[in-house]
Symmetry: C2
DNA sequence: ACATAGATTTAGGTCAGCCTAAAACATTCC
DNA sequence: GGAATGTTTTAGGCTGACCTAAATCTATGT
């Protein structure tokens, strides 16, 4: 019934919906790295199981039941990430792939004990909110650093974990969750910026800035 | 290449060999709870992959390569059991099933960090030795409590984790790893015994005694 | 030594999750 | 509004891990 594939598909759809994008066959195929035809196949099965709404050629949308699966999976994923960092000394760029596997073999009991041992954390090491057992997500309204103007003073509240190389780079230049930084310059022609972190200044490309989410202080 | 099934089959064979029993089709089918024909199927594939020697109708034996897989899997299993008990407060009767799933999704890096965080333990919560990374097992020569005579004073060095109800029962009557106990009586007709643990006496059936392994003190 | 019971293997099938190639549909552009 | 382009689905196949039923082998008892 519950399979690794199912959880991965549901999660991918949830993420696309979260970004405001339509969960189309090709978008999912890209995300999950399988052929388009395989997506159509699987989507039909998930639709039969009531996890999503499917209208041929129209993309899919999660049902309430599907969203519940997504949130439960995300919760386990983020608890594992937290555990790997806090208990086993992993760095934030190493945890995603491990958690990706662990999330699928986590009983309710294990999930609960992890949560407890970690002190019921509300965000994971990248600042992503950990959904509650009941499926409530505490989304903080943060904006991308790429959208901030020169002169702003901001605090990092979240870093996208899609690309581990960006995470490595970020920590190398001293960026961590809750770091404060000041935008010294912003180039209009390529979106790059120069920011001050602590006492040092660093160049940040648009790509990196887009992966960093901040709150104004 | 590496699959959950593969690891489970190899482990089951390793365990039978360890008990001095021949790894026959039906023994494996019983252990793994699949049909006899499925065992034959799988055995052929594992044989082609060089993990075991297979002669039709003669049962199987692990090759060196197969033994390596068994030990690596067992190592991960026991590290996880240790972790669940020490870090998350699980009791020793709850950890087997969880570890059974976690062992299959554990990278070398994760295995190493677990080992380190646990202080490089040599046995798991049931007293089973944890194989080293190189595949060396430190088997302690212990004998079953069922074989001990009345009057003996012994120390528990290992308890079989095959049956979680026995584990629950054992801890309820105060038996834990390294507990000392004295055999007060032993009935010849059913193998049951009365033992003294701390200041209390308890009745122990043959079945329970067979699951407990001890060293003389 | 031979029938027979029990264990094992073969034959043929299912299901999940993938694939490629071809067909059907949707969109966009003149 | 119809051809070209891109997206999605259908059709047909494959593989791993299982299954049942039937055939075959081994071992046992007299």
């Amino acid at each position: 019934m519950k399979s690794i594939s199912t959880e991965d598909y549901i999660k991918a759809i949830y993420k696309l919906e979260g970004k405001g994008e339509k969960a189309t066959t090709s978008a999912l195929a890209g995300q999950l790295e399988v052929a388009d035809a395989s997506i159509t196949d699987m989507i039909k099965k998930l639709s039969e199981r009531g996890l999503l709404h499917y209208e041929p050629y129209q993309g899919v949308e999660l049902t309430a039941k599907g969203r519940k699966v997504a949130l439960a999976t995300l919760r386990r994923h983020r608890l594992w990430e937290m555990f790997l960092v806090q208990f086993l000394g992993f760095s934030w760029d190493m945890v995603h792939d491990e958690a990706e596997r662990l999330e699928h073999v986590t009983s309710d009991e294990l999930e609960h004990q992890l949560d407890k041992a970690l002190g019921f954390p509300s965000v994971d090491p990248h600042g992503d909110p950990i959904p509650s057992k009941e499926g409530v997500v505490n989304d903080t309204a943060s904006s991308s650093l790429a959208e901030c103007e020169a002169g702003s003073v901001v605090k990092i509240s979240r870093v996208s974990d899609d690309n581990s190389e960006i995470l490595i780079h970020a920590s190398q230049i001293g960026l961590a969750l809750n770091s404060k930084l000041t935008i010294k310059e912003k180039k209009t022609f390529d979106g790059s910026m120069v920011v001050k972190v602590g006492s040092k200044q660093h160049f940040i490309s648009k790509e990196v800035a887009q992966a960093i989410f901040v709150e104004y202080v």
